[in-house]
């Protein structure tokens, strides 16, 4: 499989790893270099890379991937509550359970294609969300979210409110208050948590590259460009689709697990359709079908959510303090429309502008830049490796 890697592929992987690992320094100027946001970049990067294996390669648009994110999170927290605060069992458990869940949903949903498939996945995710919020509260702790707690004193306390942590107890690991997640003693919050996520992101990226370059990946791309023709040649496409669906579900489970590892709480809203929609937006925004695009899209959206939302009028006044007062007031008034509590507006405008001017997402922008630099005159546009037009077919 590695034989199919070209030299530029290896270069891409090396550059990608270098960029990811140096993020704590390079993001300093834009104020994004703090552990939580860096972790979110890496985690949602994994989520989007996994989503792209399904959507980018096969063109099947799942609107319910957040369900796997949620299942992964719950599985990880239960692993902390029942087994150990060590993150490795949590990771394994999350990926396995998300995989099984994805197999079930994928097996059913992939009986249909196009928008019917999208709605089936959406329906499953929404059912999971609604049930997790209400009826399944004994497992999910509903609105409050499932949290890690101190070891329970007696068996009368429900498992939701008191933990057992069988392995940690058997090993006699001491606990003060509510313990934090660790990797053999190294705590998984803050920067160590980020590097843990970052390494996993690089591994996931590498696996996604392998898939994309393998025969299996070619088959997925063939499904996207013309599934009918494949069917006529006697190839049964469904197993490939199910495999892709399960793999991307496991990616989502891993991302969910990491969310719980860096911050041990799992809430139902992770499964809501807005969360599923978010990963779709990340992928399209960055560039569906490209390797790096989804990670970029994830970064952009999380940056808007975390930082743009925090620029209140005070910070704007600080930023524009070099301007004379009346101008400053006007400029601040203008910008406060887009940042702080208006950050949704920026997000909406960003979606529109990018998709209107850069079909193919941010990556298309890079490609155009590179072309512009490579040879001043514009060569005939290359077909954009995103999705095929589905609109006119009848």
């Amino acid at each position: 499989m590695l034989g199919t890697f070209s030299r530029s592929d290896w270069l891409l992987l090396v550059i990608f790893s270098a960029v990811v690992l140096t993020l704590p320094w390079t993001l300093e100027p834009i104020g994004a270099a703090y552990p939580d946001l860096l972790q979110k970049f890496a985690i949602y990067g994994i989520f989007a890379v996994g989503f792209n294996i399904l959507f980018g390669l096969t063109g099947y648009l799942s609107f319910g991937h957040a369900a796997f994110l949620g299942v992964g999170s719950y599985a990880a927290v239960w692993s902390f509550k029942l087994l150990t605060m060590n993150v490795l069992p949590a990771l394994a458990l999350s990926i396995a359970i998300a995989g099984v869940f994805a197999l079930l949903i994928g097996y059913i949903s992939l009986r249909r294609a196009g928008i019917y498939f999208s709605i089936l996945t959406l329906a499953f995710a929404q059912m999971s969300y609604n049930l997790a919020y209400s009826v399944l509260t004994p497992i999910t702790n509903g609105e409050t979210g499932l949290q890690v707690r101190a070891i329970r004193k007696s068996a009368e306390v429900s498992l939701r409110d008191g933990d057992v942590r069988i392995i940690d107890q058997a090993l006699g690991i001491p606990e003060v208050g509510v313990p934090i997640t660790n990797l053999f003693g190294m705590k998984m919050s803050g920067y160590p948590g980020f590097y843990f996520c970052a390494v996993l992101l690089i591994v996931c990226f590498f696996i996604a590259m392998c898939i994309s370059r393998s025969n299996f990946g070619m088959m997925l791309k063939a499904i996207k460009s013309n599934q009918n023709r494949l069917n006529y040649t006697g190839i049964h496409t469904r197993p490939y689709l199910i495999a892709a669906f399960v793999i991307s579900g496991m990616y989502a489970g891993l991302a969910g697990s990491l969310l719980s590892i860096t911050d041990p709480i799992a809430g139902a809203e992770r499964m809501q359709w807005t969360a599923s929609g978010e990963v779709v937006l990340m992928t399209i925004l960055g560039g569906a079908g490209t390797l790096v695009g989804p990670v970029l899209g994830a970064g952009l959206i999380k940056y808007a959510e975390q930082k743009v939302s925090s620029w209140n009028e005070g910070i704007l006044h600080g930023a524009f303090s070099f301007l004379p007062e009346p101008v400053q007031d006007f400029v601040v008034e203008f910008f406060s429309f887009f940042v702080g509590e208006g950050w949704h507006l920026t997000l909406g405008l960003m979606f529109m502008i990018i998709v209107i001017f850069l079909p193919g997402g941010v990556m298309e922008g890079f490609r155009r830049l590179r072309r512009a630099f490579a040879n001043g005159a514009s060569p005939p546009p290359r077909p954009v490796a995103t999705t095929t037009p589905i609109a006119e077919r009848d």
Binding site: G59, R111, N130, G348, M352, A391
Partner: protein, 342 residues
């Protein structure tokens, strides 16, 4: 028995709302081939047309009251609507009371303009683009519209009372010889009749006019219609305007039932897509049928008798039905082969 009858009424009422929203969505998809995630936002804009009219009628001048004090102990500034001064309290009172039904006129005009502007300015350029791009751009637009509304109207729901004469509940039971406990809000009955009327009008328009015939032909086979020398493009603009108007009036008339807030469009978005898909993408009849079916099933699933057997069923019934329908009928209730299957 009474309970079941009431739940059927509830279902019809819900179904009317669902059908109205889904109608425009499926119309746009069927003719233009565009997945419009901003459709919920159009519903919300319609509702805010009603709010706007109410605000316009309430534009007031200020008069300092001599007797009353405000919460800080200063003399209270009273607001007197201009229309009260111009038309006298009787007519002004009447206009304010009936502002929601009257707002339909405003809504039709405003939504037609918005719809046409949206199609000409944005949607037109996305006919040939992948569905994913259409989703991204219309979702972005929905957020932008939403935030603009929030900027001017705030995030809280704004109450829009129905006219006094239809504000209370009707004793439906006495009409039908059922018990006294069978009462139903007048406004919901009005809404149901209204939605039936609009649905009927849209169908009649598409069925009995030449324009509608061309649009239906366009839905079947756009290229051939284009080859016949018909300017299908212009008709598509009108169709989009029509979809916007239908969503808008559905929203405006819904305000007395659901006090509108800027987010209400998103709340209906997922549901309306489910309705459209259960009905079959691009099928008008399917959308209406699915709207009513889902509305009625949702009402029944909420009954205590059923919830006690299947806890939480009312939370998931819509999605459960969607899954079952799509697995047994591949293209929804009335979808056509080959539409939106790839």
């Amino acid at each position: 028995m009474d309970a079941i009858f009431l739940q059927i009424l509830n279902g019809l009422d819900k179904g009317g709302a669902y059908a109205l929203i889904a109608l425009g969505l499926t119309l746009v998809f069927g003719t233009l081939g565009v997945v419009n995630f901003a459709h919920g936002a159009l519903f919300m804009l319609g509702a805010f047309c009603a709010v706007t009219l109410n605000r316009l009628l309430n534009i007031s001048f200020e008069r300092v009251s001599e007797t009353e004090k405000d919460f800080l102990g200063n003399p209270r500034v009273e607001k007197v609507p201009y229309i009260e001064q111009w038309f006298g309290p009787d007519l002004a009172g009447f206009l304010l009371d009936w502002s929601v039904p009257i707002s339909i006129l405003l809504t039709i005009v405003v939504m037609a303009v918005i719809g046409v502007a949206m199609e000409r300015g944005l949607i037109k350029h996305f006919y040939k683009r992948p569905h994913a791009d259409q989703i991204l751009v219309t979702f972005g637009l929905a957020i932008v519209l939403q935030e603009i509304v929030r900027h001017y109207f705030g995030a809280n729901p704004i109450p829009q009372p129905a006219p006094d004469i239809v504000a209370g509940a009707a004793n439906v039971g006495s009409w039908l010889g059922l018990g006294d406990n069978v009462i139903y809000p007048w406004w919901r009955l009005v809404y149901f009749l209204f939605s039936a009327l609009v649905i009927f009008a849209v169908f009649a328009f598409l069925q009995f006019t030449t324009f509608g015939m061309v649009v239906r032909a366009g839905m079947q086979d756009r290229e051939t219609v284009g080859l016949l020398g018909i300017n299908i493009q212009r008709r598509f603009t009108v169709v989009f305007g029509l979809a916007a108007v239908v969503a808008g009036v559905a929203g405006a008339m819904y305000t007395p039932i659901l006090p509108p807030d800027y987010h209400m469009g998103m709340d209906f978005l997922v549901l309306s897509f489910v309705v459209v898909v259960v009905g079959g993408m691009g099928s008008l009849g399917g959308a209406v049928l699915a709207g009513f079916v889902l509305g009625i099933l949702q009402s029944f699933a909420s009954m205590n008798e059923i919830k006690s057997i299947l806890p939480g069923i009312d939370q998931i019934i819509v999605y459960l039905v969607a899954v079952i329908v799509l697995l047994t009928r591949p293209r929804g209730l009335m979808g056509r082969r080959g539409v939106a299957e790839e």
